[in-house]
Each structure stands twice: as structure tokens, then as C-alpha cells.
């Protein structure tokens, strides 16, 4: 018998011998059917789009990321500002040229299969995003056009991310539904909530361990 057959046989035998007990205690109010749970907080339910963007901005900033809001025409300047004094910037395929502003003297690096060491020598990365979640201040990359493969937004120490206001949804369930319907579910994905952080030393939060130590989010309204 292979391990596979054996494990499956054990699972079936366990399910056969043990009858699962009902989960919800009888005194639980029936009106709160779990099926109806979707949005989680009053702050995000039924809010107007501008309210959502406000909340998104506030929650991203809460993680000590830098957040700026600007119009389409101002994006290139905001990106240039976000890149600060970076000398080399990797720009993924499909990142729109009209949104790209590079600091004076900065060199644009194209990802032609850079290996890990080459990527480690790059100062910053600029990407688009797929979804923003207001309630949790989360940016989701599905690593499609303008977002680059996963390593690009990981190894360089500074990540400038451009999110459009119409990409911002209220909460986690909305984001999951959107990704599920759009077929992104089988793509590699990275959910980013603030810069890399650790609380492993006496639970003191320290930003910046292995991922980008600076996260700069540009919201386009």
C-alpha cells in the first residue's frame, strides 16, 4: 500500500467511526447566521468611495508606510519623490511611461531575468497594484502587467507602489471575491500591509527586516 492510499484509507476510516458533533450550541442566537457575514466593520460598510480611500490612506499610514494622494497628472512627480535618492530603479514590464518619474541621475533597470545578486544591487522598485483593501490598509499584487515577478518587489530596499482609487475595496471578503472572479486565484500573489516588520524582540515592532524597509504608496484619485 502506498503512503497515499494508506493516508486516504485512515482518513476514511476515521470519518466512518466518528460522528461529528453539531458545532453551534443550542443557546446561540439563530438570527446571526454565519452565511450572512461578509463586511466586518461599520467603518467600511456602505461608505462612499472617497470615504474608502480616506480609510485606506489612514490604515496604510498606520503601518508606518508613506502615503501620498495625487491626481493622474501628478503621479510621475509623486513617484520621483517616493524614489528619493535611489541610484538604480527596476521598472517592471508594462509600467506606464507617463506614470514614471525618476530622480535626477537615477538609472532605469529593466528586468531581463536579473539574478538574485543583481537584484540585490538595485536600490528601488516601482510597481502598480491589483487591489487595495481599505479596512486593513493592504495592497495586493498579482504580479501581472506593471507589477513584475515576485522577487522584484522584494529584494530592493525601497518599494514605490501606485494604486488607483478605483482599485480600493472595503474589506478582505470583497478583495477575495474580486480576485476569485477575476481569475487571479491561481496567479502568484503578494498581499502587502506596510513595510517588512518584526516583533520578535520583546514584541517591540521594528520596521524593515528582509523585505523593503521603505514602502511608499501613491494613491491616484
Amino acid at each position: 500500500m502506498t503512503a497515499r492510499d494508506d493516508v486516504l484509507a485512515r482518513v476514511r476510516s476515521a470519518l466512518h467511526t466518528a460522528t461529528p458533533r453539531p458545532l453551534v450550541a443550542p443557546d446561540q442566537p439563530a438570527s446571526r447566521s454565519p452565511e450572512t457575514v461578509s463586511g466586518t466593520s461599520d467603518a467600511t460598510r456602505g461608505g462612499a468611495t472617497s470615504g474608502l480611500v480616506d480609510l485606506f490612506e489612514e490604515r496604510v499610514a498606520d503601518y508606518r508606510a508613506v502615503v501620498v494622494r495625487c491626481t493622474e497628472a501628478e503621479v510621475a512627480d509623486a513617484v520621483r519623490h517616493g524614489l528619493a535618492d535611489s541610484g538604480t530603479v527596476v521598472v517592471p514590464d508594462g509600467f506606464p511611461d507617463d506614470l514614471l518619474g525618476l530622480p535626477t541621475g537615477a538609472r532605469r533597470v529593466t528586468d531581463d531575468g536579473l539574478d538574485a545578486h543583481a537584484l540585490d544591487a538595485v536600490d528601488a522598485v516601482v510597481t502598480l497594484a491589483t487591489v487595495g483593501i481599505a479596512e486593513t490598509g493592504t495592497i495586493i499584487l498579482d504580479h501581472g502587467t506593471g507589477q513584475g515577478r515576485r522577487a522584484l518587489s522584494l529584494v530592493p530596499d525601497r518599494h514605490v507602489c501606485v494604486v488607483r482609487a478605483d482599485q480600493v475595496v472595503a474589506d478582505v471578503p470583497e478583495a477575495v471575491t474580486l480576485l476569485d472572479r477575476s481569475g487571479a486565484a491561481t496567479r502568484p500573489m503578494t498581499w502587502i500591509s506596510g513595510p517588512s516588520a518584526t516583533s520578535d524582540i520583546e514584541l517591540d515592532r521594528v520596521e524593515g527586516v528582509h523585505g523593503p524597509r521603505t514602502l511608499h504608496v501613491v494613491i491616484v484619485v
Partner: protein
Amino acid sequence: MPPFPQAAHTALADTQLRSNLRHATHTIRDKRQRVVDEVDQWEALRTKGAQVKDDMLAHLDEHLLTLEASLTARGAIVHWARDAAEACAIVAQVATDHGVDEVVKVKSMATQEIELNEALAAQGIAAWETDLAELIVQLGDDLPSHILVPAIHRNRSEIRQIFLDHMAGSGRPAPADLTDEPRELAGAARLHLREKFLRAKVAVSGANFAVAETGTLVVVESEGNGRMCLTLPEVLISVVGIEKVLPRFADLDTFLQLLPRSSTGERMNPYTSMWSGITPGDGPQEVHVVLLDNGRTNVLADEVGRQALRCIRCSACLNVCPVYERTGGHAYGSVYPGPIGAILVPLLKGVGHDAQVDSLPYASSLCGRCYEVCPVKIDIPEVLVHLRAEVVDAHRDGWPTGMDLAMRATSVLFADPGRMSLAVKASGVANRVVAGLTGLPGVHGRSLPGGRAAIGRLPGPGAAWSDARDLPVPPRTSFRTWWTQTHGGRDETAGGRS
């Protein structure tokens, strides 16, 4: 490992440990409470999480087959492992096939449970832990003491010393002028590990969730070490317990709300990675998934204990547990400490053949806080009581214990009113003797809340019981004698009140 009461005694004597633990558990439990209070349907969310897991477990075989098919279709190689030895052998074989003598690791409870690092070391393969806390534990040749923050028992100056003493032995040394500032310590870890990430060919991870319909594995983390391991190496091996399956991608909505808030007390953890098999041009181009049983089907077969398989390893139960807060994780003698460990370990390993495992269901005051904070509503106290019964049952066919004899004697007395009456009279005498003991040297009198006198420690065979409990000093007259003398309290009332 010694049984829990013995290990707990050692831990309780360590005042540094107790102060580190108190600070850490209180900080994290307060953070959790703040972000849980933000969610107005938290209770309904917990119920949904429990229900999704229960429904999944009821059809676990089907979901595992779906997961296997989805992963295979996405280019992953699926392995099955009955136990720890098989799982370790699979990982070692993949590493050996690629001719590597080191792998980088994402923090994973499953790989700790199967003692993968030790198994790889035996094959001459170094397994580098890359989570900061796991690095501290590994460099200090120590054991993890918490599911989420394994180095919770260490403070900053201890960590600084570990880095200075041991980093050089396994790669880039710590800077000589390293201070105990957490930012500097994290910086030293960043530099030390970066060279390992950049050269690693093979990585090993676990998974927080495995979505059957899409073959998506999910790893939730904070530091980015997970992303490094999941993205940069050529080969990725993920060891996944069979209970980690979620049927649909849509089920993630519930768990990505429950897990970060319960675990680190954040609205969302900094990084969540999802991947499904192989993506050309992005990340590892050879992906293995090891589906691990290692006792999980035993848990599944236990009607009461099955709910433990809902566990998403958030560690909220550890942070609120009055026992864990004082003893720390090492006293539990397992990679799964705290309330969840006290049920999971006996369920996975079975009771009746290891004194250490059998002691775990008793490592609790049954206060119930663990149940209140559990994001998937595991009724830990219920399972603890159930396991205590199993431990007692497992030891029935040997010599009767002191408790068995006491219970038998009680049963003889209770069966006959005459015998009972005689015994009660005798007990009045005995009570006066016991009460008198409090005055003897070596027997320490105490007082209980409410002012009633208590005996701190009994001599002789009573010591085993009174070691961890205060015995109230018995009244000098029995209830029956009092009833007869006062006519049910009427005479006493008449005389005592004006």
C-alpha cells in the same frame, strides 16, 4: 522530557523567564483585544471559521484528492507521508537530488513537529531557520517556547549575546559594536541572512492554508524571510498537514480576517504569499508539496478531539493562559505548547504510553479563556476533560492508585446510612486532628480568600495533593452533628439573632 508538573517547577523558579513571559503575553493579548473589538461581527466570524473547517474535515478525503489534482495540474509534485520519518526522508531526498548541503527555511510548525532540521543534519544538510525568532532559537541551541514568537523567553540583552557568540559560526558574524537595540539586532539578522537567501538553491516551507480547488498554498508572515524563501531559490518543498486544506479560494476571506487579528494583533500581517504550483519566469521552477498525516487521522477519529484539527496556529490561547504565562512553553515539552498543545499533543500521539504526554491534559486550571479567544471555537477545556478521562482509562488495568482506593472506600460508605453516620462522627474527630496540624512545625497555615484558614502543605502522602493546592481547614463539627444539635439551624438562629 520530564512530565509537566516537574518541568513547570523548574520554569517557575526562573524569575527572568517569568518577567519576560508576563510582559510578552500581556502586550500581545492587549493588542489582540483592540483589533478584535474593531470587528462588530467577530463572534459570527468565529462560528463561520469553525464551520468551514468542520465541513472540510467531514469530507477530508475528497478535498485532499482535489488538492492533489489541482497541484499536479499546476506543475507541482505531490508526496504523501504517513509519519515524520517519511516526510523527512522525502525532503532529504529532494535536497540530495539537487546536490545541496544547505536549505533555507520559512518558519513552520509542521517541520518542527517532524524534527526536519535534525533529520537533515543527519544527512549532512544544514537547515537554516530564517525567521528572526527561530534564528535566535537556532543560534542559541535552544528550543522554541511559543508558536508565534518562539524566542519570547529571551530579552534583548540575551539576544545580543547569542548573536555575538554564534552568528560567526554559521555565516556572516554580528557587528562587533552591536547594541541591544531591537532595530540593530534586526539589522544584524538582515545582513546575516541575506547572504543565505541569495545563494540558496532549495527552500523548505510549511503552509497556513492549502486551497483545494485552485492548488493555492498560503504563507502568512511579517518579516519577508518567507517571501525570500518562497521566491528566490530554484526548488521549493512545502510540508503541509492534511488538516490545512480549505475547499475553496473564497474560504480565505474568513481566515485572513481571523488569523492576523488573533495571532499578532494586527488588522493584517505585513506579508501574505500565495502561489499555485509553478509560474514560468516567477519563483521556483520545481515545487514539491508533502501532505503529512503524522497522527492527524488519530485526531480525526476522536469525536470530541476532532475540533483540534480546526486549529490555525494563531497562538491566541497561549497568550491568555494563566498556566502558560507562568511556566512558558518549554514546560510542555513539545513544539505545541500552551492550551492547544495540551490537547493536540496527546491527540496526535495517543495517551497511555508516555508519562510526559499523559501529564499534559492536566496542565490547565480549566478557566476557559482559551476557548473564548479561539478564532475557530475549539472548546479546549472540553477536550482537556475528555483527555483526562482517557488518561485515567488507559491506566485502569494496573495496580489501583491512591485515588482508586479512596473512591472505592467512599463508595462503601455512601452505600449504607449506618456506615455513613459512623464515618461522619469519626470525621469530626479527624477534622479536629487535621485542624490541629496547622499548629505543628513544618505545616504552614494560610488563609483563603474570605478569610477561611487553610493548610498550605500536608505531610506524608497528602503532600502530593497539597503541593499545588490549599486545603481549607475542615470545620470542627460535621454537618450532621451540627443539624442534630441546632435542629437544622433553628435553635442557633433563635439564640444568635435578636
